[in-house]
């Protein structure tokens, strides 16, 4: 594969409710990414936007943001899924020979819709939807299966929430920077047993953008490139009840592919920082297993060891993770943006010293059905 880089990143702050309209958020993130790259819209050959018609309450949700994304008289397309898939598509287009640069931008205003209703519509309308299941209740079923499988406790999962909310205190963009204890998590309001309020990510508004360039395209910009070393994306089966929710086989496959491309042999050693999609506390140790940071059933063990804390061997979610700000669809792109900042040494108070290789992870669908994994390096 030809070399391909991320040369610019931009993000808004993430908040419970922003006044800005979809297009205003997109414009903010996109112009920040362009400015960060040291270029302008004229340096962009094509655009990929990321949005979701259900969340936006609008069929063709990308229609409202074409101007803000800078798509006038340019080739453009829209991914409906997590931002990591948007980055992936932007990368494919840059590698296709048709373009040398892609601007990818994703937006979300969770505050304008009702999350539980929107995610209820993920479920099969014939056999499951009328039961009223949603993202949180299905995640609770997954959490319980995982607990049973590895004999973990709710307190174990709470550790991820405690760690990440604390990390968020170093991130000015995060929505929920908090110094909390396991006890606080345990005492927070029970939503869907075993998931309590502080096990769950918040509803968020925000946008993020990246500028992708081939080696040649990167020369248009001032910023030194962060290279995409590997990427993999794989979906598991859909049907709740017929997919083993405590298995991470799809993430295993996606990560293996990304590692192979990037020449990563031992991710725990070879990676310097990880930003993963912890929509719920239990997901962090579960995704450790899928990403090969821990062996099967050993995710909680790794979490408890402190190795993934800010001062550990492999800090995971220095930004505070998705549990500290969850603009759906944007959140995976935020992981990429954070990874880039780490590799450039621009992550300020959340900087992992000397980070040379970073992993960013995004998910699509209920209970992390589909995964996308990026390995980036300088």
């Amino acid at each position: 594969m030809e070399k391909v880089a991320i040369v610019g990143v931009g993000q808004t702050t993430y908040e419970r409710r922003k006044e800005d309209t979809f297009d205003e958020l997109v414009f903010e993130a996109a112009t920040k990414a362009l400015a960060d790259a040291g270029g302008g819209i004229g340096d962009i050959d094509n655009i990929v936007t990321v949005s979701n018609d259900f969340w936006d309450g609008r069929t063709i949700s990308s229609m409202g943001i074409q101007d803000a994304a800078g798509s006038w008289d340019k080739d453009i397309s829209t991914v409906e899924g997590d931002g990591t898939f948007g980055v992936l598509y932007g990368m494919m287009r840059a590698l296709s020979g048709s373009f040398e640069t892609t601007l990818v931008v994703s937006h979300m205003k969770g505050s304008e819709a009702v999350m539980n209703l929107i995610t209820n519509a993920i479920f099969d309308p014939i056999f499951q939807r009328s039961l009223g299941i949603d993202a949180t209740s299905s995640a609770a079923l997954q959490a319980r299966l995982y607990m049973e499988k590895i004999k973990a406790s709710q307190e174990d999962f709470a550790l991820a929430s405690v760690k990440n909310h604390k990390n968020a205190m170093n991130n000015p963009n995060a929505q929920l920077p908090m110094d909390i204890s396991v006890d606080d998590v345990m005492k927070s309001k029970m939503l869907a047993d075993p998931l309590k309020m502080l096990d769950c990510s918040p509803i968020s508004d925000g946008a993020a953008a990246v500028v992708i360039a081939t080696e040649k395209g990167a020369k248009r910009f001032k910023k030194s490139p962060v290279w995409i070393k590997g990427v993999g994306h794989v979906s598991d089966a859909y049907t709740l009840g017929y997919r083993d929710l405590a298995s991470t086989r799809a993430l295993d496959a996606a990560a293996s592919k990304a590692y192979k491309m990037a020449g990563i042999k031992d991710p725990m050693k070879d990676l310097d920082v990880v930003e993963l999609y912890d929509a719920y506390s239990y997901m962090e140790p579960l995704w450790y297993e899928g990403l090969g940071l821990a062996k099967e059933k050993k995710g909680v063990e790794l979490l408890k060891s402190g190795a993934t804390a800010m001062d550990g061997d492999l800090p995971v979610n220095p930004s505070g993770g998705v549990i500290s700000a969850h603009p759906v669809l944007v959140a995976g792109m935020t992981r990429v943006v954070e990874g880039v900042l780490q590799l450039r040494g621009e992550a300020e108070k959340r900087q992992v010293k000397g980070a040379k290789t970073a992993l960013a992870h995004g998910i699509n669908g209920a209970c992390g059905q589909s995964h996308c994994v990026f390995v980036m390096g300088v």
Binding site: T21, E24, F54, S111, E112, P125, S130
Partner: protein, 158 residues
Amino acid sequence: MTEKNEGIELLTIGSGEAFQPFNWSVGRYGSYFLKELKDNKTFYGVKCPKCGKVYVPPRKVCGRCYVAMDELVKVSDEGEVAVCTIIQFGFVDPSTGYQQPVPYGYAFIKLDGADTLLPFFLDSTDPERVKVGARVKAVFEDKRTGSIADIKHFTILD
């Protein structure tokens, strides 16, 4: 509801009264426009500092120039029909789930001073007068609430 297909009963599942509620931010540009409509029956647009195009209703970004706009411009409540039709077919209003009442006149109106077109319904009591180039004027509701529906319709002048 069921139907038979070669002896097999084919079922459907209905969504019933289910709906998705939204609380969309109108944004500051649009909010200003609606407030002026409500308080002063006045239309405002925003002008691009680069190409000079006037957008009604106002928005932040001029797509062509890719710059932010913030210069407000008052435009007329009169204008010209750029394109139009009379809607005669029935369809479901997705905001209510019920059939829209038809027929009604529908036009894209170029308000004097604006460079974009405002889509709205037209008083089509006399369908013969619903045509390209017709001069029109906004008719406002007496009781205005700060929504686009404060414009009752556009009436044909000539």
